[in-house]
Symmetry: C2
Subunit: 168 residues, 2 copies
DNA sequence: CCATGTTATATATCAAGTTATCGTTTATCA
DNA sequence: TGATAAACGATAACTTGATATATAACATGG
């Protein structure tokens, strides 16, 4: 069965990037499910931004994540309900609402940084290893590799390697 | 303002690909709006698939587009209402519903192939010209270029070049 | 100093993808 | 051949992005 997006090349690059991104996110979610982590993979960038940049108002958070502000507002309410972030008013500007990690959120991030993110990063790096040449070719290779060996399998391998490294 | 997805590298590649894809599609939509075409850019792959592969049942259409079947079912109902595709029962299997371009749909595709798609393809090709090196670097370059010169401007340039070529 | 404009966030609605599940129809095999 | 399994497409519910707009707080010029 011909892959139309692939055949259309640059014409549908946007759709194709979205498609690959969605598959990667779904696969990442499967890795997380296997690791007993209960939040959505899509929330990690927000938590990582707060961890890396410290407390931020909604708008700057949106900018640093490269998404539109309403998306951040929604994600923040969700994470607030989960008790992972907290919102406090700004002292000097009552319009601004400063978002920060809660104690629980910080704990989750610390754990993830140690136990989870390296696994995922290794798996994706493995997926993208030794790519070269034009962009469309690299994307095709990624799709092919993803179909041949799902990310979860790559993360097991990465985990095994990591465990071996620790055991040494 | 630090771009977190970029800093996180492979860890959030999925989110990042989605983000770039969405921006590309939104930009493409803007080009289409300027060209007096009234359908969503995201519907073009489906129409292109039917044009290229001929009439197909829903499931095979989904497979050739690389999306899940319910998405195709919804897109087909939408395009049927717009009068661009038609659905007919299969002779030999009552479960299958064969999707094909209507006369209007075929006309639209023919026009698009001649007047619209080349513009978009040139603009995106321009965006991706002379990329080299590792994937993450290529993606960063694409984002930078897109921020510097939006796709619509690139398509104007491409249109001018095409017009000049014709005039010769 | 207040009317007006701007900025920050929230809300509403839309778009396009997903998974899960259901009803039909077809296929299989004991 | 008839019971059961598999395949196809539709529907429902959810996710995660978008845009447009409303509301409230701040800034500023006359």
């Amino acid at each position: 069965m011909e892959d139309i997006l692939r055949s259309l090349g640059f014409l549908c690059l946007g759709s194709r990037l979205k498609r690959i991104g969605e598959q990667l996110q779904a696969d990442t979610q499967r890795v997380l499910d296997g690791l007993d982590v209960r939040i959505q993979s899509s929330q990690y960038p927000l938590l990582a931004a707060l961890d890396r940049l410290g407390a931020l108002p909604v708008g700057e958070l949106a900018q640093s994540l490269g998404v539109a502000q309403p998306g951040v507002t929604r994600a923040v309410s969700l994470l607030t309900e989960l008790g992972l972030v907290e919102v406090s008013p700004s002292n000097d500007d009552q319009r601004r609402r400063i978002v920060s990690l809660s104690a629980n959120g910080q704990r989750l991030v610390d754990t993830a940084k140690r136990d989870v993110w390296p696994r995922i990063e290794d798996a994706v790096a493995d997926l993208c290893a030794d790519l070269s040449g034009p962009l469309l070719g690299q994307l095709a290779t990624i799709e092919d590799r993803l179909a041949a060996t799902p990310l979860a399998r790559r993360s097991e391998k990465a985990g095994a390697v990591a465990a071996k490294a620790v055991a040494r």
